[in-house]
Symmetry: D3
Subunit: 318 residues, 6 copies
């Protein structure tokens, strides 16, 4: 069945399909009757929905962030589209493709992950290799999470596999730096690039929620990443203490400035290089995503408005 | 033997005594002869010394930061006192009292430690108690280090047992806050107060060196303290994850501002209270120590000059 | 008669009761008829009200910030509750309890004031005692105002007797500091703590208005407090000039930073201590009040959102 | 007798003359003998002097900041000129001209004061006139001090009558503004211009000391100026409260920014104008004085180095 | 015909008149019919208008920023006035007075320009005169543009001939400075004052659009002004390189601070003076315009609210 | 003749050789005799020299920044080496190799320039090619200057051909970015990379002086570079205005922040990318050069001290 996307809904449509329930709460009408208030979403948008008879036969159990199969009718209320739902049940795994509901990387995660593994294989230091393998080869739960996670709730790489895409781009940049500046210790820098944002797998919850976790808000992905590295290193006998400290410093310092949450400024050259690679990819990607939010711009008014990240009005190059 | 303090030396004195060797390096005279260049110190000051015959019989092996027993003669060179040393050997443990050489807390460390233990005993939560005991009751090496460490290389509490004195003061302030603001979770706050600066036992080396370690410079005592807590918690079965995260957050946020090295700002009320306790004791003590550096001030010119910490000229209250 | 609070109003209610008139203005309907537009409030909320026949018999004279006894009917307009009032007259003093209309300190003002007087009695210096008595014992108008004033229009201690509660808390903290740091001059510090915010009695108008006065906006409570102290000191023969200057400095510097409106940074230790006491109580109370604004939080989403004061998301400790 | 200026001293000179004693302290030679260590100065420079026989017949009583008549001989020590003094006595008033010793305004103080009085006479408001007269016509001590005071210890207008010269320039600028922007209230602005820095007569001590007073450091000239205005206004029956507040606001806000010590930012247009007049004269005069410190600049290297005030290298216009 | 201003429109009016079309776009009704959505404006306000039959006989061609002569009827929709237009054609030049539609300087542009020319004639240096004449005497297109341009899109001098009025005020201030501070090079300063904002003729488009141009956003009026000066200087044979550089420096540095877009801080005294003149006129005018936005203020609530430019609440002087 | 480097001089040496005269001034002995005071330098250091008989036969004409052939004798004065020169004449071009006197790039300038030309040849846009050729192919004086210039007086790339080396590195980074982020307009970015620092050829004078020019200090290389581009573009008929503006924007914005002298923040993606390329190469190179200043570091004290650029202590990676 071809999916009907939410941005195609018009008044009067009868909709049958699977959508992601982003929010759900119970409300009461003026005359005291309970009803359910939902937000259903797909990758094209979202719509406010009502279940006026929540306890009727056709309405199954479900919760926020479930995929639900519904039957409803599109109406107009106060000038906005709304859907009344009379049947709803949780969708079965496999009956839908998450890519229809969530924004995803333009690149194939498996292909990106293979490229990532090549970087791991290029690391010569046996201890760094052991550490990297303990994450990216042996830790199945971590690998699964790392492949699908976003790199942010919003701003940049805030889509499925965004963390993987960003990590790979940072590796690419660092690899290029190593060729250009031979004084850089490639093993340290590539290892740090691979690990710099692993804390995000715990700072942000899995899709479709993709929101800050309690622990994430209290500790932040920088410190959480250091803890994760620390934990793995403990299990690697003979890991050189000095190398562990330098690696952890690179992770701590990769935001470059105190006000961006790094408790230390880069004090060794690989930490400096990692900071530039991270920042370069984050900002360039953020500007590309900013442009993507304005797909159709009037060429006679090409300016897209003020961007807080860039502290400037921005526009596409002509 | 009554010690002759360095600030009492005058030209022509023959000195026999034990002093702390702060620095040592080998130099060469214009005519190519090697000699040793030393700085000897006690708590009253320091003096530049020369060993013109470093390979002679009377000169034993020694290194920087050793206590050395010397025989020398005080001369004047370029208007400053200098000592020529003809005999030197490492002093035996027990033959000197470190308090003659290093600044120490005005309070007795054992007494302060007993007060600290009372705070530990006042914590009701069994898991926090286990954690605190794992540091302050069971870990002998930690206890030994914690009792003598400074809280800083300079600035405030930069003396022996300064870390203990500061930690106790922070506990006192937090204890008072708990009485005043009943919404504070006392167990969490007292535990956080006790642990907030434990990372300093690794960030700074032991006396007499008392300087930043390599790891200390790269990671900082805030993250190191979290790691130390993390390590102990792992060994406590069933430690509630949520409590661990809140405690670690308090430690991370205790400097209060990004620019002071906290990667997170206080997000819970105990973190906020800890930040105030830490800052209050640090700054008030820093001003007291600033005054102590000017013991004899002309009452008609009571101002002590500009203090960077306080961004102001300061003076004693009359 | 049991008062019906505004948050209990529902459509169709006939209301008879006394409410505080926060705003009042005259408007005109499309067909040119004048009516009165009011905001009535109590401590639980506020409601927009209309007097469609402002010149009718049942409508007496009144002004904004009056307590008014009304008869009205609750309706719904554009989805919000509204009240049509057909009878209204100014309420008589004594016929209502301001605590039903304004937020007030949780503590009894008289009890707090007694505690404050004990601090005054503990001051040894006769001149500081004379000064404190000239405010807190002899100046009836000041005492009356001080007991009921808020410490702010909003943010922290923005309720009746908030100024008294905050001043007492600052005294408590300073008293504790004096025990802990014997170098503090207790007489100076306690006197400064008692006087530090007295300028707020003129910077903010009395309840129920509790808004910045013209003078308050142009001069600020810091300078106004110094002027008030200056005025009293002039009438105390022989008051030592030096003590007057130190006290005024403590008041001027109690915000600690230029950007918070202090024209001087703390230059003596009592000014520093006062700054910490003021800031500690203000911020901890502000966080408590922030929590109080979210009485019912879903435990699975405990974060309360971004707080500008704390520059962070905040949440209750679990 | 033609004065021999210090910048003309050469080795071997025998000097008889009157100089200003800027500093004086007692020292001890290595062999335990007391001697006096002096700094004598005139407007061309200063010289270190020794009185090796302080208790001899020829050495009278004197103190720092006295003008002293001396007999001495110029020698060279460690490459710098030094003077040995064998006779010294306090100079009599009238036997010297302070202008030989202190930098003074290029303009005649009496002439400047006459211009100032014209501004006072141009003020129409009777209350502002009474206030201005109470300072500039009736208060002899104030007038004497105001005429000779500097406007700063250094930086700009740090010379005799600098306060008068700066105040007059600020009046000139404000007068021009009033012609250009008719919305400005001239009476308020001219009164504020005349009073804006009167606190400096108490913040800085009289020449030859010209240093911050204790009160000056603790309160600052902004608040002190407001207090002085406050004091005079109290004695003027019927002074309009509103005008007093607006005037005091202008004084408080005249530094324009919190970080420059103004506890309030300009909130009325005269305060804004005063801030610009004060800042314009201060900065332009500071640059002129900066140039005057480099009288002879090599035209091929006209840049005068980095100026902290201007946060830039500066050079004369060619 | 007496114009009916938009702020006089009431429901049911039939309007015939000329208005400025600020915006125009095509929309579609729910049932798929196209209509035109317009904003018409005059100097008193603006009104949303609809052309329900855009292809009818009475509707001529027109575009945004055209003056259009219309026939329409005023209705009320959702509580706001709206106009349905049934006839519309572009207005002929000369049939309307732009001053009815756009805010304009209170002064006559020709009179201001004559005053400007007097400043030009007062410049002695022949090369600066040639440069000034090349703009203000010979370049007709520039003169036409300069006379009508605003100095800003909003904030200060954002009206017709605002650029001319501001430039003249800056010249007046600089001229006064030259009299007061003889060290200023008048020729350089007056020339710089005249040229400092000429780049705004290209940074902002002509009225009625008065918006940032593409080039304006990418380069800014400071650099564009330097380029314009550079271009003219090239055509003046023998223009002294040094004078050209000093003049360009004054233009570059006239915003005074990096964060305000000046790539250089004032390094010569004329640049400093120009910065003060520009800032003084801009800020005082901005406060006057701020007041003008609140023509009728309740004297009992004279405060006009928070102004971002002044970082303060502001009010009129009483 | 093998050159004797200054760091090899010892007391008593008779020196014959060619050195660079960095400074020269005339002084007078105490007894009134004139002599010359010189600083001679080579790449290993510098030495203070005296010509006691400046008017003698053996002393030819010369000026600061000349290479001079001298005969002198090394002595010791006040503990430092000094040279008395009795013969001196200007060295002939070709008789010395500047690399012995100035620090130079480690790479061959001609080879780097060839690589630069390849980037030019890779630009497809004919107008950008014309522009680039007008600088790098046709303008001999520019090419000569560009090949030898430094990129800074100090800090990073402050050596001969440093500008070329830095420009090439920025091109390399931008070229890599273009492969990674296909949305970048390669022609614009490579052209901007090649031109971004051309203003430095005028901001800094040629070696051996390598100091800021008068124009450089007043205008800065960013604006000067835009002017140079502007000048060449004028001579290219039909150069698209839009492309010119985008290119100039990239140059203006390449420092990224106002406080670093960019009058505009990056508003298009190529400006953003150029900013990252410039900053990445500048900072990484600066850290490498920082390390090079400490060739021999004690491995037990590897920290090199505080670096202002990096706002941190730094150390080599172990």
């Amino acid at each position: 069945m071809i999916m009907k996307y939410i941005n195609e809904f018009t008044e009067g449509d009868n909709i049958i399909g699977i959508y992601l329930c982003k929010q759900k709460n119970t409300a009461t009408t003026r005359n005291g009757k309970e009803y359910e208030n939902l937000t259903l979403a797909d990758k094209t948008g979202s719509i406010n929905c009502k279940i006026w008879e929540p306890n009727s036969m056709g309405i199954g159990d479900f919760a926020a962030n479930d995929y639900v199969e519904i039957h409803g009718k599109v109406t107009v209320f106060n000038g906005a589209l709304q859907m009344s739902i009379d049947r709803l049940m949780k969708a079965q795994d496999g009956s839908y493709d998450p890519k229809d509901y969530l924004s995803v990387s333009a690149r194939d995660p498996e292909e990106m992950f293979r490229e990532l593994k090549e970087y791991i294989n290029s690391v010569q230091s046996p201890f760094f290799r052991l550490l990297l393998d303990s994450f990216f080869t042996e830790d199945e739960a971590f690998i699964k999470s790392f492949k699908t996670h976003s790199a942010a709730k919003s701003i940049h790489h805030g889509f499925m596999s965004g963390l993987l895409q960003h990590t790979l781009a940072v590796c690419d940049l660092c690899d290029f730096y190593c060729k250009h500046y031979p004084k850089l210790n490639r093993d340290l820098l590539i290892t740090a690039a691979l690990c710099h944002d692993i804390g995000k797998t715990r700072e942000l919850s899995e899709f479709p929620v993709n929101d800050y976790t309690d622990e994430g808000q209290l500790l932040g992905h920088i410190v959480m990443g250091v803890e994760m590295v620390d934990e793995k290193i403990r299990s690697i006998k003979g890991f050189p203490a000095l190398k562990a400290v330098e690696l952890k410093h690179c992770i701590l310092a990769h935001h470059g400035e105190y006000e961006f949450g790094s408790p230390k400024k880069p004090a060794i050259i690989e930490a400096l290089a990692l900071n530039f690679a991270d920042n370069t990819d984050a900002k360039i990607e953020a500007m590309i995503e900013f442009f993507d939010n304005f797909p159709n711009v009037d060429p006679s008014h090409p300016w897209l408005g003020f961007s807080c990240i860039f502290d400037s009005n921005v526009r596409r190059t002509k």
